[in-house]
């Protein structure tokens, strides 16, 4: 796994802290898109979308290229890795949750065994 300097990590998580920006990354994961298409997709102004794309670009998650009058956005080299990371974080949350669930259920099992013994007496 590639190690990024901490500051890069921070920029990247900052960029990912916004649901629209995460949505943009996801969208670009499927296909490249122009800023105006993204603005339309996320129902916001062109200026608003430009700002979001700017933040993503700074974090290295998105690259843009202007051809004629259209600026096309595509996923930066790190975009897909971030998606995988998001899934892994989400999975870890559930995993931690289920570890606690195991404890609760184990306790219920023990209690049931004890109660069962009591009933038999």
């Amino acid at each position: 796994m590639v190690q990024y300097p901490q500051s890069h990590f921070d920029t990247s998580f900052g960029a990912l802290s916004d649901p629209t920006r995460r949505g943009v990354l996801e969208q670009l994961g499927r296909a490249d898109a122009s800023i105006s298409a993204l603005a339309e997709r996320f129902q916001m102004t062109l200026t608003g979308m430009k700002k979001h794309v700017g933040v993503l670009e700074q974090a290295g998650l998105v690259t843009t290229e202007k051809v004629g009058r259209v600026r096309t956005c595509r996923l930066g080299a790190r975009g897909l890795e971030e998606e995988a990371e998001w899934i892994e974080k989400y999975r870890q949350l559930w995993s931690a949750r289920f570890d606690e669930l195991d404890n609760v259920v184990d306790e219920l099992k023990r209690k049931e065994r004890v109660d069962g013994r009591k009933k038999k007496k």
Binding site: G23, Y90, R91, L93, V105
Partner: protein, 162 residues
């Protein structure tokens, strides 16, 4: 592979899988080494549910947890958030003891998220499948069931410090 697993001593943790089924769906699975009836109990009794839903390792506690687990019944979870609180709430749509729970999550502006949990018992173990359907692709990341945003932030910090 399977045979090797059988011969292992059991008390190892089971694997949690998470899959993005589509841009609006996330599916999480895990096997619990207990009959469905006990697992279901841990999902439907507030005093049990609150003990595991927010993992201790995330350094968060629920301020309150109310669950009226019947069709049309409501739930409400309250978390401390910055200087205030954050609430998650919704309605139980389907309650089939020991096998299936469906609830909506209603606090978002962008529509309801629907969570379906199935409990499938096999050989004394229970396969849990948690299926979230979000109102939109954008809502997935901010959604209710998995993404306690503040908890994920803490995890971000943790990951960043590794």
């Amino acid at each position: 592979m399977d045979e090797r697993r059988k011969s292992e001593a059991t008390p190892t943790k089971n694997r949690t899988t998470l899959e993005r089924k589509s841009d609006r769906e996330v599916v999480v699975t895990r096997t619990v080494n207990a009959p469905a009836r006990l697992v279901f109990e841990a999902w439907t009794k507030a005093e049990l549910f609150r003990r595991w839903w927010v993992p201790k390792s995330y350094g968060q506690t629920l301020l309150s947890c109310e669950m009226d687990v019947r069709v049309g019944g409501q739930y409400r979870l309250v978390f401390p958030f910055e200087n205030s609180t954050m609430e998650f709430f919704g309605t139980y749509v389907e309650v089939t003891p020991h096998s299936r729970l469906v609830w909506t999550n209603d606090e978002g502006d962008a529509g309801k998220t629907i969570t379906t949990v199935t409990f499938e018992e096999k050989g004394g173990k229970t396969l849990l499948v948690v299926h979230d359907v979000y109102p939109s692709a954008e809502a997935v990341d901010t959604g209710s069931t998995g993404a306690l945003p503040e908890a994920l932030d803490q995890l971000d910090e943790l990951l960043a410090s590794l």
